[in-house]
C-alpha cells in the first residue's frame, strides 16, 4: 500500500512540474495558435540564469535566504526579456505566414538556445546547490519532501492566479479577445502586439519559475534538460485540451500519474512481458485513447471559451 501511495505522490510531483511548464505552453497557444517549441529551452535558460546569479551572489557573501529569491527574480526578468525578444524576432514577422513557418522558426530558436547555453554554461551537468532545508515528510509510508510540496502548491497557486488574471482583469479580457478573433479585437481597440508580448513574457516568467523548481528538486541543470521537459509538457497540454488553463494543470497531473503508475505497475499487469521500459509508450497510448474519444482533449480547448 505504501508503495502505491508513494507512486501517487511521485506522479503528482512530476505532474506538477509538467503542469508548470504546460501552463506557459497553453497560454501562448491559446493566443497565437503556435506550438512554441522553444518554450522548453526558456525553462532551461531560467534554471541556468538562477544558477549563475545564485553562484555569484553567494560568492559575494549574500545570505542564502536573500540570494535565492533574488536569483529567481533575476531569472524571471531575464526570461521575460528572452521571451519578448523571441516573439519580436522570430514569431511576429511570421504572424500571417503559412501555419508551419513559425513551427520551423521555433525549432530553429530551440536549437540556437540550446547551443548558446552549451557555450555559456558548458557541456556538463551542473549541480544546483541545496539552500533551503529539505525535510522529508512521511504520509502513511509515502515520502515527500519540502521542495516537492512547494512545487505542487506552486503549480496550483499559479494556475489560480492565471485564472484570475484571464477572467477578472482587463488584460485578461484583452487576451481572451485576441484568442477569439485578432481582427475583431483590434477593431475594439485592443493593442494586439502589446497583449501578445505580455502573454509571451508571462509565459516566459512562468518558465523561469518552472526551471528553478525542477533544478531545485533534482539538484542539477543541464543544457539539454529543456527539450524533453518541453515535449512532455506539450503532451500534457494537449491531453488536457490545449489553450485551456485548467486543462494544462489537469493534463500535467494526469500525465505525471500515468507515467508513475505505468512505470510502477506495467510489469506486474502484463506478467513481465512489458516492463517500465515501455512507460512512455503507455503514456502515449493513453493520450491516443483520450484523443480518439475526445479529439479536443479532456477539457476541450480555447482560452476564450472555457476556463
Amino acid at each position: 500500500m505504501e508503495i502505491f501511495l508513494q507512486q501517487i505522490v511521485n506522479g503528482l510531483v512530476q505532474g506538477s512540474v509538467y503542469a508548470l511548464v504546460a501552463l506557459g505552453y497553453t497560454m501562448v497557444y491559446g493566443i497565437l495558435g503556435l506550438i512554441n517549441f522553444a518554450h522548453g529551452e526558456v525553462v532551461m535558460i531560467g534554471a541556468m540564469l538562477t544558477l549563475s546569479t545564485l553562484t555569484a551572489l553567494l560568492g559575494w557573501g549574500v545570505s542564502p535566504l536573500l540570494a535565492l529569491p533574488l536569483s529567481i527574480i533575476v531569472a524571471m526578468l531575464g526570461c521575460m526579456v528572452l521571451g519578448y525578444s523571441i516573439e519580436r524576432i522570430a514569431y511576429r514577422p511570421l504572424r500571417h505566414a503559412p501555419r508551419l513557418a513559425p513551427l520551423i522558426t521555433a525549432i530553429g530558436v530551440s536549437i540556437v538556445l540550446q547551443n548558446i547555453a552549451m557555450i555559456i554554461w558548458g557541456r556538463g551537468y551542473r549541480s544546483f546547490p541545496q539552500l533551503i532545508a529539505n525535510h522529508p515528510h512521511n504520509f502513511g509510508g509515502a515520502i515527500i519532501n519540502d521542495i516537492q510540496i512547494i512545487i505542487f502548491l506552486l503549480a496550483l497557486g499559479i494556475m489560480a492566479v492565471l485564472m484570475v488574471i484571464v477572467h477578472r482583469t482587463r488584460l485578461g479580457r484583452a487576451m481572451r479577445a485576441v484568442a477569439e478573433n485578432q481582427h475583431a479585437a483590434q477593431l475594439m481597440g485592443v493593442n494586439i502586439n502589446r497583449v501578445i508580448s505580455i502573454t509571451f513574457m508571462m509565459g516566459s516568467a512562468l518558465a523561469a519559475v518552472a526551471g528553478v523548481m525542477v533544478s531545485a528538486n533534482y539538484g542539477l541543470t543541464h543544457y539539454y534538460m529543456g527539450f524533453i521537459l518541453g515535449l512532455k509538457a506539450f503532451t500534457a497540454a494537449v491531453l488536457g485540451g490545449i489553450g485551456n488553463l485548467r486543462g494544462a494543470m489537469m493534463g500535467g497531473l494526469l500525465l505525471g500519474l500515468i507515467e508513475s503508475l505505468g512505470a510502477g505497475y506495467i510489469g506486474d499487469l502484463t506478467g513481465g512481458f512489458f516492463g517500465s521500459n515501455y512507460q512512455d509508450v503507455f503514456a502515449f497510448f493513453v493520450l491516443v485513447a483520450v484523443l480518439v474519444f475526445r479529439p479536443s482533449g479532456l477539457l476541450g480547448e480555447r482560452l476564450a471559451e472555457r476556463a
Binding site: Q14, Y125, I143, H222
Partner: protein
C-alpha cells in the same frame, strides 16, 4: 522555373561556403622535412555526453603533445603528430560520415569512437580502408565480434566487466536479492545483462529489472517499484548523468540497499550530482588505479593542470595513442598496413594497464578495479582479474 533574388542570394552564399571547405590534407611531410603522422579522434563533442567526449579529446591531445615534445623517431625520421578531432554526436550515421572524412584525410590511425553505437558502424569503414581503430571506451561485445582486423580496444568489454561486477555483488557483498536498472542504451543494457548473468551464476536472485533512459532526470517511479521488492543491492547500468541523481533519489525515498554502478558512474560528476547520497556507492573501472600504475600519478597531475579533472576515459585515450605510436615505432612506419601486425602482437605498459590484444582485438586478461565512495571521494577497494570464467 523562376529564380528570384532572395533565393539566388541564399544559393550563392551556400556555394560560397562550400568553397570555404578545406579539401582533405594529403601531404606526408611538413616544412622541416619531418614525417607528418595524422591521428584521428572521434567522440561526441556536442549533446548530452559532450563532457565525456571533450575528456576523450583532451586525453588524446595530451598524448599527441607529449609525443611531439619527446621527439619520437619512426623508421629513422623524426615524426610530427597531428590531431584531427571530429564530433560524431554519438549518432551512428554521423559517425560513418566522420569516419569517411578521417579516412579521406589519410590518418594513420583513429582513436575512437567513444560509444559502442558509433564504433560499430565506423569500424567497417576503417576496415575497408585499412585504417587502424583503437576505441578507448566502446564496451559492447559486438564491436570486436564483427571480425575486423583493424578494430581494437584498450578497455575491458561489457562481458568482462559485467562478470566481475556480478561476482563481486553476489559473493563479496553477499547480496542475495538484487534489483537492476538499466538505461536502455547499448552500453547500459549490455553491462546490465552481463551483470545479471554473473550474479545469478553466483547464487543471487534478481528481484526486479526496471528501465529508464539516458536523458531522464526522474527515477522515483522505478525506484519506488524497486523499493517494493526490498533488494539488498541495486545495480545501475548507465552513465553518471543519471546515476548521480538516481543515487540522490534512492536516499530521498529511503530505499535501503547498496548502490552499485559500472564504469559509467565512476566519475567526479557522479559525486557532484549525488551529493551526500554518493557515499558508499560502488563502481568499477577496467584497469588498475592510476596512482598504482607506473607513470599514472604523474599523468593525472599533468592532465589536471592542463584540462581540469579527469572525467572518465582520458587515460585510456592517452594509452591508445601511445600504444599506436609504439607499434609504429616497432614497425618503423606510420603506414597502417605496416604497423598493424606490430600492434596486434604488442605488449605495452600504459597508465591504465599492460596492454596486449587478443585475436579479436579485445584487451587481453585485463584487471578490473572496484571502487567505493568514501568520505566524498572514490577509493579503490579491490582489483580482480577478468580471465576467471569461460572462453568467449
Amino acid at each position: 522555373m523562376k529564380f528570384n533574388s532572395v533565393s539566388s542570394l541564399i544559393l550563392a552564399t551556400f556555394v560560397l561556403a562550400l568553397t570555404g571547405c578545406e579539401k582533405s590534407a594529403t601531404s606526408d611531410q611538413n616544412k622541416s622535412g619531418e614525417l607528418v603522422v595524422r591521428i584521428g579522434a572521434s567522440a561526441p563533442l556536442t549533446g548530452p555526453q559532450a563532457h565525456l567526449g571533450k575528456d576523450n579529446e583532451n586525453g588524446t591531445r595530451m598524448a599527441i603533445d607529449d609525443a611531439n615534445a619527446k621527439g619520437i623517431m619512426i623508421g629513422g625520421r623524426k615524426a610530427h603528430f597531428e590531431l584531427i578531432s571530429e564530433d560524431d554526436q554519438a549518432d551512428p550515421r554521423t559517425a560513418t560520415i566522420v569516419a569517411q572524412k578521417l579516412v579521406d584525410n589519410k590518418v594513420s590511425g583513429v582513436i575512437g569512437h567513444l560509444n559502442s553505437g558509433t564504433s560499430i558502424p565506423a569500424a567497417k569503414i576503417y576496415s575497408d580502408n585499412g585504417i587502424v581503430q583503437i576505441s578507448p571506451s566502446a564496451t559492447a561485445v559486438a564491436y570486436t565480434a564483427q571480425g575486423f582486423k583493424t578494430a581494437f580496444r584498450v578497455m575491458a568489454n561489457d562481458a568482462q566487466q559485467g562478470r566481475v561486477l556480478g561476482e563481486y555483488a553476489a559473493k563479496n557483498l553477499a547480496a542475495k536479492k538484487i534489483a537492476v536498472i538499466d538505461d536502455r542504451t547499448a552500453y547500459g543494457q549490455g553491462l546490465a545483462d552481463e551483470f545479471i548473468k554473473a550474479a545469478r551464476a553466483n547464487g543471487a536472485e534478481i528481484v526486479a529489472h526496471e528501465y529508464t533512459n539516458d536523458k531522464a532526470m526522474d527515477f522515483t517511479a522505478v525506484l519506488t517499484a524497486v523499493k517494493g521488492k526490498k533488494p539488498d543491492l541495486l545495480f545501475y547500468g548507465g552513465m553518471d548523468a543519471q546515476g548521480g541523481p538516481m543515487a540522490k533519489q534512492v536516499k530521498a525515498l529511503e530505499l535501503k540497499s547498496k548502490f552499485m554502478t559500472g564504469d559509467g558512474g565512476y566519475t567526479p560528476e557522479f559525486i557532484k550530482l549525488a551529493g551526500k547520497a554518493a557515499e558508499s556507492t560502488y563502481a568499477s573501472l577496467p584497469g588498475v588505479p592510476l596512482d598504482k600504475m607506473p607513470g599514472g600519478k604523474e599523468f593525472e597531475k599533468r592532465f589536471v593542470a592542463n584540462y581540469g579533472p579527469i572525467q572518465l576515459y582520458a587515460p585510456y585515450c592517452y594509452d591508445a595513442v601511445n600504444v599506436m605510436i609504439a607499434a609504429m615505432q616497432k614497425a618503423g612506419s606510420p603506414d597502417p598496413a605496416k604497423y598493424l601486425p606490430s600492434l596486434a602482437s604488442i605488449s605495452y605498459d600504459g597508465v591504465t594497464a599492460k596492454i596486449q590484444f587478443d585475436e579479436k582485438g579485445d584487451l587481453k586478461g585485463g584487471a578490473i578495479t572496484i571502487y567505493q565512495v568514501q568520505h566524498g571521494k572514490w577509493q579503490p577497494l579491490a582489483t580482480m582479474g577478468t580471465s576467471t570464467t569461460a572462453a568467449h
